[in-house]
């Protein structure tokens, strides 16, 4: 009984640690995906002059989850007639549970919504480009940081479990 309890505790803590590590590893990937999606959006706006609902649909088709869901919601909101900036703001709030991003990442991403669709193509391009540059910086930092942190958390989970077992025994 005792042995089983020990194993369960170690496994539980270990899984928790692995899950944290997984989330940390996903963050740079999601940031990269986001900057890719923004690049697509930028192309659609600047070269295609594609209206936003259609542009979101195209971006949606070429990204993976969770960004797919994000752009899908945006597309639906715009087709319902919401303005782009409020739709972006609200989608960020609603969808951020599906992501492994940190609040500071969301702050940058939320900037895209400011004036989205309200100005001409050059303005839109400037805005998106700025966000993209910030995202790339953020991604580089996140990569370095996540390599160490992920390893730490995956060990820490198991070690924490073992420590707990030792204390309890």
């Amino acid at each position: 009984m005792l042995v089983l309890g020990c194993i369960a505790l170690i496994a539980g803590c270990g899984c928790l640690g692995l899950w944290f590590a997984h989330r940390i590893r996903r963050r740079p990937l999601e940031l990269r995906e986001c900057s890719m999606a923004l690049a697509l959006l930028d192309t659609e706006i600047v070269w295609g002059a594609t209206p936003l609902p259609e542009a979101f649909c195209l971006v949606k088709e070429r990204t993976d989850t969770p960004w797919q869901g994000f752009f899908e919601e945006l597309q639906e909101r715009l087709q319902r007639g919401e303005s782009a900036s409020t739709a972006w703001k609200e989608t960020v709030i609603i969808q951020n549970a599906h992501f492994c991003l940190k609040p500071e990442d969301w702050q940058i991403i939320a900037d895209v919504g400011k004036g989205l669709g309200r100005s001409d193509r050059t303005e839109q391009h400037k805005q998106i480009e700025l966000v993209q540059r910030q995202l790339i910086l953020m991604k580089e930092q996140a990569e370095i940081w996540s390599g160490k942190q992920a390893k730490m958390w995956s060990y820490l989970g198991f070690l924490g479990g073992i420590a707990g077992v030792l204390v309890l025994i």
């Binding site: 936003l52 900036s85 001409d120």
Partner: protein, 354 residues
């Protein structure tokens, strides 16, 4: 002999009977008619922000079919224009005096513009440079605001201060009366110019002519002909992402959003039309392109702003075209008995009124 052809839509009482033909049961009381009108208003209301949408949905005693324009100006009352009246509308959707009406805020305009462009102002940049945007359904919205210049050229428009939503009407059969006058013995269409002051039904008549020519009207000996339409302002076909809102006939090719001058030669080269139709000529380039197109043997069908033949002659570009004898028929429209009143059809070769 001079005949003044007047269309069936001219006299006031007749207007409604023709316009309402498309509305199925309307004789038995006004109820279905009103609900139809309300439905159309609800549909129209989706282009506006919450305040104006509420007003339009709750409009009382305003028949959608009678309204020609819907005007929004910053700090000015909400205005609906009918054939001969200006209606000021208050917060509850009732007709009222100008001082009690709902005053348009800047936010209302921004919201309307955002909804009309699906939050993508950049996508209609080219249209905005010309001062209008076209809605799905072919309704055109005139826009006025602060124009941004770059190296002397219009870059875009910002701080929009006025919107004018013109409700496009499609009245099949409008052209039947004048079509026989525009046909030669051989059954081809003469080079025709339609002139009228604004809001007199030029575009509607042209659209109907295109449809008749394209489909053919066997009763007057007209076989269907291939029609090429250069729809620079997107008003004739009302194209929305490649799908025309208005039926322009079986044999019509539409070049949407293309400048008339280059569009004409493109169509002639690629689609070999027998008739080339375009809206609102007035630029010198248009005139040159028309003279070019004439050499390829197509028939030209076009419109221009001018209230009379004299006024048309005073506009340099039109004058030049008239003097060169490009056009064979001139149709003058007016609003004397409502939009679509035909004041006269002239044979420009002989100068007679037909």
């Amino acid at each position: 002999m001079s005949l003044h052809y007047t269309l069936s839509v001219v006299q006031e009482p007749k207007v409604m009977s023709t316009l309402l033909k498309s509305i199925p049961p309307q004789k038995n009381g006004s109820h279905p008619e009103l609900s139809k009108s309300a439905a159309l208003w609800t549909d129209m209301a989706k282009w506006f922000g919450d305040d104006i949408r509420f007003i339009l949905v709750s409009l009382k005693g305003v028949d959608y079919q009678k309204i020609e324009e819907l005007r929004l100006r910053v700090g000015k009352p909400l205005l609906l224009r009918t054939l001969d009246r200006d209606l000021f509308i208050n917060q509850e959707g009732e007709i009222t005096s100008p001082n009690n009406a709902y005053f348009i805020k800047h936010e209302d305009l921004a919201c309307a513009l955002e909804r009309m462009t699906h939050s993508s102002v950049y996508a209609v940049e080219e249209d905005l440079k010309q001062g209008f945007i076209t809605l799905p359904g072919g309704n055109r919205v005139g826009v006025a605001g602060e124009v941004v210049l770059q190296q002397g050229k219009i870059q875009t428009m910002k701080h929009i201060s006025s919107l004018n939503l013109r409700i496009a009407r499609d009245i099949p059969g409008l052209s039947q009366k004048i079509l026989p006058l525009l046909l030669s013995m051989a059954g081809t269409v003469y080079h025709t110019l339609l002139i009228s002051p604004p809001r007199a039904g030029k575009t509607t008549l042209l659209r109907d002519l295109i449809r008749s020519i394209s489909n053919g009207v066997p009763q007057v000996g007209l076989n269907g002909q291939t029609v090429g339409v250069v729809d620079e302002r997107g008003e004739l076909a009302g194209m929305w992402q490649g799908v025309p809102t208005y039926d322009l006939g079986y044999r019509t090719d539409v070049l949407d959003g293309c400048p008339k001058a280059s569009g004409m030669s493109m169509l002639v080269r690629s689609m070999s039309p027998q008739v080339l139709a375009m809206d609102e000529i007035g630029h010198a380039d248009d005139a040159n392109a028309i003279t070019d197109a004439l050499r390829t043997g197509v028939q030209i069908l076009s419109t221009a702003h001018a209230s009379s033949i004299e006024e048309a002659r005073s506009r340099p570009v039109i004058k030049h075209l008239l003097e060169q004898g490009v056009f064979e028929r001139l149709v003058v429209l007016s609003r004397r008995h409502g939009p679509g009143t035909i004041d006269g059809v002239y044979d420009l070769r002989t100068g007679r009124i037909l």
